[in-house]
């Protein structure tokens, strides 16, 4: 099995190394050479966190076999800042606030560098197009484009270098002014280490065996062949849990690894650690699991029916949580209404798609403290849960929060930290796990898919007399944050509107789908989508302007919410005024304003995006020649 011989120049330094023939340039740079500024967000060419220059050409290093690096000149993000001084582009990213979680930023800076090298005068459209292969989930891109335009102008002398310089926010003022992010330099330079970038001497790599079944009893797990493999340092299953197994943000219904049965496709069943990640992966196929498939349920409504498959013994009705809210008397409210509108709304499952896939590093320190470093969004809670699970006092459990490469709620669940702890305890060596993008998508929580039935009664002048809202949410196989999401969904369901009679029921239901959990807005989105859409429909039916119907019902200063929280001040009407103005809204009922509307398109709106900015630019001189 001949290793590759790679002789190349990396950031101006010559290297000569042997490398495994199957490595990608990304692996070679990160794992063999320690250039961890180049990230792996997807491994499939989709995200651009891995962009590097090879002989001056920007490539996605996850799609480049390492062998192709032979004899080339490579530049990584680490090579952009000369002698520790950030490049103009990096300074511009810092100045413009163009970094948040930072995980996409090294790749973004590389793509921006490539864009300005290719065309130092590229306009915003062309910049957008040239950055088209790089995804950012945090910034919304505008600040990134601002940064590239700023760097372009400084490089071309159209703006002074001082435009990049540090400007201090006026004495201690932080609200309403641009404040430089302290962590931006470490992000734009690629220096910041995320969990998957960290290494320790003697470290093992962990790979995870996952369930191919949505619902099945585990008859047996035989790990002997995997354990016997050369290079395998440890194998763990649920049997290795010393304490009380079970984690979850509210209900501790999820075992560290499947115990007795699997409840969704992708659930972790066993894990292997080895010094060589390839051996760890290969060993997975040597673990023999015998499953006995069970009837599964994939729809929340089905799961609520009598006789449906039951996921957890403790919840024979498959209900994770039901949150009811009762205010006044809805029957009376509907009786007083001139119009009753009923509709159903549904929303789909959504993946967070943070650019940093789950990763963590665990070790047992010299004092026997089990230490887990990971981008967990909830380390204190994790620490308490893990202490019970591994039967160690709390002072023997330590969680370190590594930089979070995007979370959006998706990193609240202790999905893999328990496995890491068990493996570190079993092998007494540092252990690292890095999920692939596919693993991240298959196994971690999603936004709850929901189905809402909505009934609203209003008087002719648009006043809401009663609402009845019932939302059924698919919580998937484990509880995770479902309870909290159902609470928030219920509390905010009827919106910021003063309504005398309210009946809300939200249900989180177990199914054999991927678990649902926390995701930006935490349940509010699902019910708010229903409420706001419903109001638009009611406004049309009543012949009212949609802003008007909201103003009529808006909570005002001193209002009390549907769950009796006193609100000293309510900014809703101000927000409505501002939105109406910004949208240049033409007052009236949307469906009765005739064929032509003045408030569509124009300033403040953007045409749908298209490609070809540089083709158009190349063609335009021709047009002017003709003319």
């Amino acid at each position: 099995m001949p290793d590759l011989r790679i002789e190349a120049t990396i950031n101006g330094r010559k290297i000569a190394r042997n490398a495994k023939p199957h490595l990608r340039l990304l692996d070679f740079l990160r794992d063999d050479l320690g250039h961890t500024g180049t990230k792996e967000g997807c491994g499939a060419g989709e995200c651009g966190t891995c962009s590097v220059f090879v002989d001056g050409v920007l490539l996605k290093s996850c799609l480049v076999p390492a062998a192709k690096a032979q004899g080339t000149r490579i530049e990584t993000v680490e090579g952009l800042a000369k002698a520790g001084e950030l490049s103009v582009l990096q300074q511009a990213f810092h100045k413009a606030g163009a970094s948040q979680c930072g995980y996409c930023i090294p790749g973004m800076v590389m793509a921006a560098t490539a864009a300005l090298r290719a065309n130092p005068f590229a306009d915003r459209e062309e910049i957008k197009e040239r950055l088209g292969g790089n995804i950012c989930r945090c910034t919304g891109y505008q600040k990134i484009f601002d940064a590239v335009e700023l760097a372009r102008d400084v490089q071309n002398g159209r703006r002074p270098a001082s435009a990049l310089a540090e400007e201090d926010a006026a004495d201690g003022a932080f609200i309403g002014v641009n404040v430089r992010r302290l962590d931006a330099p470490s992000k734009v330079s690629g220096a910041l280490k995320y969990a998957g970038d960290m290494v320790m001497p003697h470290m093992l790599h962990m790979a995870v065996l996952r369930s191919p079944h949505a619902h099945a009893r585990i008859v047996s797990i035989d790990t002997s062949e995997a354990e016997a493999m050369d290079g395998v340092e440890g194998v763990i299953t649920a049997a290795d849990v010393p304490g009380v197994d079970g984690f979850g943000v509210f209900v501790h219904d999820q075992p560290i690894m499947a115990r007795g049965k699997v409840r969704y496709v992708g659930e972790q069943v066993a894990a292997v650690a080895s010094e060589d990640p390839l051996i760890a992966r290969r060993a997975l196929s040597k673990i023999k699991v015998v499953y006995e498939p069970l009837p599964a349920v994939f729809d929340a409504h089905e799961a609520m029916k009598a006789g449906a498959a039951v996921l957890h013994d403790y919840a024979p009705d498959n209900i994770v949580k039901h949150i009811p809210i009762r205010v006044g008397d809805v029957a009376k409210g509907f009786a007083e209404s001139d119009l009753i509108v009923e509709e159903t709304y549904s929303t789909q499952q959504v993946e967070h798609a943070y650019l940093e896939p789950e990763a963590g590093l665990a070790y047992v320190d010299a004092d026997g403290v089990v230490t887990i470093l990971s981008p967990s969004q909830n380390i204190t809670h994790h620490r308490h849960m893990l202490s019970r699970i591994i039967a160690q006092p709390i002072n023997k459990v330590r969680f370190i929060m590594s930089p979070v490469g995007g979370g959006f709620g998706g990193k609240e669940d202790m999905v893999y930290q328990g496995m890491l702890a068990l493996m570190a305890m079993k092998t007494r060596r540092p252990v690292r796990v890095v999920f692939t993008r596919e693993e991240s998508i298959i196994t971690t929580a999603k936004r709850h898919p929901s189905h809402t039935t909505y009934k609203m009664g209003l008087t002719r002048d648009g006043r809401i007399k009663a609402v009845e809202i019932k939302m059924i949410s698919d919580g998937g196989a484990y509880g995770m944050s479902t309870e909290g999401v159902m609470r928030k969904a219920a509390i905010l369901a009827a919106g910021p509107y003063a309504i005398p009679n309210v009946k809300v029921d939200t249900y989180g239901i177990y199914t054999n789908n991927t678990p649902s959990g926390a995701f930006r807005s935490f349940g509010a989105l699902q019910t708010q989508f229903a409420t706001e859409t419903h109001l638009d429909i009611c406004a049309e039916k009543l012949g009212l302007d949609p802003f008007e119907i909201r103003r009529v019902n808006a909570m005002r200063d001193g209002a009390s919410t549907h769950t009796k929280q006193a609100l000293k001040s309510v900014s809703l009407t101000r927000a409505l005024d501002a939105a109406e103005k910004a949208a240049r809204w033409e007052p009236g009922v949307p469906n009765m304003r005739g064929a032509t509307r003045g408030d569509l398109n124009g300033e403040g709106t953007r045409p749908s995006c298209t490609l070809g900015a540089r083709l158009a630019a190349a063609a335009s001189p021709k047009t002017s020649e003709v003319a």
Binding site: H22, A67, G132, T610
Partner: protein, 305 residues
Amino acid sequence: MLICDEYLTLASLDEAFDAMARHRGRCRIIAGATDTLPWAREGRAGDVEVPVLIDVARIPELNARRVDGTRVRLGAAVPIQRFLDDPALAKALPVMPQCAIWFADDQIRESATIGGNVINASPAADGTPPLIAHGARVELAAKRNGRIVRREMAVEDFLQGPGKTALESDELLVGLDCEALPGYGASFEKVGHRRSLVISVVCLAALVKLDATKQKIEDARLAIGGIGPVPQRLTEVESFLRAGPLTAERLEQAAEMPVALVASRSRQEYRREVVRGFVLRALMTAVRNAGGASLLAPELEAAYA
């Protein structure tokens, strides 16, 4: 994950054929690797162990590009990005830059090869309809009895179904021989799930040559992908276009003609709608790019821009 025991980077065709013979049945060809690496992942082929990978991307003959008068010869390993940045290619193959701009992204286009796109034989590949519109022929070679033997055939005949081509196991795709069509107005239409970095649902290449009066279509080339197992040339539409005057009505009639060809396995109705709109917009754009007048009603001009 793509796992191999040996990775060979070959410097000549001869060496490549020898390596292929030596490792027959246990090797795989790599050019840009942009199809192969993502294929060897969970959800698709999973972990794939191939004893020997044979990288042909550096073989000089596979990188040659030559434009002479009426023909263009493209080495199989020419990266898609060259259609954007090589003015000679852009002039001789007018639809290629437009295809390239919609193809993956700047970075992948530097790796992705035109030959890999053809061999991959995806029904929705973006590279094949433009090649077919340019009357491209594949040049295949193998080493048999110590001699390099070559054959060629039209791209339409070479592509046999999703992932299936007429390539023999001992053969390499060496190059593509295309008709140069300078002066043709071109248009490439593509729809996918999003704008950037996306595989086509349907894609269409159109080339139009107008006569001196700019009132009549002298020649038209149309090829479409994504509506069936292989891309196809729309010869009936082409003859219809050549047969009459250039009017908006006739372009609309032309756009109706291929709708019935939609035979893809999913979303037929949607694809039919797309095909109608595509052919019309592609023809209008190609006519305009060929120096003809805009045939769009003014209120549609912006929408179709």
